[in-house]
Amino acid sequence: MSATPILLSKPLKFLVVDDSRAIQAIIRRSILRCGYEPVEVRTALDGEQALDIIETFVPDLVITDWHMPKVSGLEMVQALRQMGHANIRVGFVTTEKTPAMLDQAISNGAMFILHKPFNDAELAAAVVSSVKDLAKPVLTQPAVEESKDVEPVMESSLHKQLQATLGKIPFRLIAREPMTTDKLTPNNLLGLYVGTGHKGVYAIGVMDGNAVCMVGGGASRKLPPEVRAAMESGQPDESMLNNANVFLRAVALCMAETAVPGPITVSLAKASIVKNTFAKLSEVLAQSGRRSDFRIAIPGYGEGRMAFFLMAA
């Protein structure tokens, strides 16, 4: 995947959990293929062994199988969260396809679920996508390149904003999962932001229909069946839509924090529902940098996606 090694200021740490040594070897190969140096890869044959290892070796990413003797992959991740390791990232490599089970993995913060059989390149891509923000190169990138990688909304800021919106409703926010046209719902909420000193649109925010129902419904303290029904029909009610608008407005504050050069005032100029076939939306989603993508999972509701894009000055 990477011809030249990406030299890191500190090692990226991986824990591979699979009862098959052959699969362990394949996953190790995929990790090395990402080109990061140095990396530390440890292996465990089941969830129980993994939990023992994590007591002394805290990995950046755990890549785990699902079905294993003693403690399954899901049980291991649940135990991990209960032990207070909320920040350890997890990806599943599994034959498990039961939707209810996969929902549980997502609720517990799975960054990816890759189904066997997979190829090395697929796994390497999932690994890179999961850890790219942790991989701090030794050499400073040129300023131009850095500006390309500016994220308009930091995960921590959005997390705070969601907490303010959802109150005590538990949720999980998963960053850097690109929103693509094929993942859009039929109707989506599009917000246009303006910034002081910037001509035209400063940034664009997109919430898919599910995220609108979940965030808007959560803000209205709707019960899960109401929210799920709205998600299924693709028709958020008025209060969901209004609250989703309020949320988009609040995200402007997150954008002001990351503005380069800052500080500037960012505000929501307009928000409207657009179809997934809206041509401008496809153009925006194809943007390669200067974007922040998120998946949100709320137990009982489901999951949705949102993304924010900085527009060229």
Partner: protein, 137 residues
């Protein structure tokens, strides 16, 4: 490429690596399993590819490990066939032993056999089903 093998009374050919994953359909209390029969040469090819090492560096344990994983992946495909859309509980792969063969003989019917051929070599996948659920006509 795998092809469906018509049912016959012929015994399945001997394979050095026979692995088995138990299946259970909880709604019907129905049990079965998927067997994968792999010949030595194929087992070595699979293991060298999976472990990424030379043929001479493969150990016996590696062959078993790799074949168990192959069985795991094939079972995933066959489980849908077994459950007919219902949720199936899939067990862990294990090398088929005497107790398994006894279980097949006493409680199972062969629902389907698929084979992949390369020259004289054959890799067989067998779906076993409970005797209480005869093959539909």
């Amino acid at each position: 490429m795998f092809q469906h093998v018509p049912q016959s009374n012929d015994a399945l050919p001997f394979a050095e690596f026979s692995f088995y994953v138990p299946l259970k359909l909880p709604v019907a209390d129905r049990r079965g399993g998927v067997g994968v029969l792999i010949q030595q040469d194929d087992a070595i090819n699979v293991a060298t590819n999976m472990f990424g090492v030379a043929r001479q560096d493969i150990k016996d344990d590696d062959l078993g490990d790799a074949c168990a994983e192959v069985c795991n992946v094939f079972t995933d495909c066959m489980a849908t066939h077994f459950g007919g859309g219902q949720q199936v509980e899939i067990g862990l792969p294990r090398r088929a032993g005497l107790a398994d063969y006894q279980f097949f003989a006493e409680s199972c019917v062969t629902r389907a056999i698929y084979q992949g051929c390369s020259g004289a070599r054959r890799l067989l996948i067998v779906l076993y089903d409970s005797l209480r659920f005869p093959v539909p006509s």
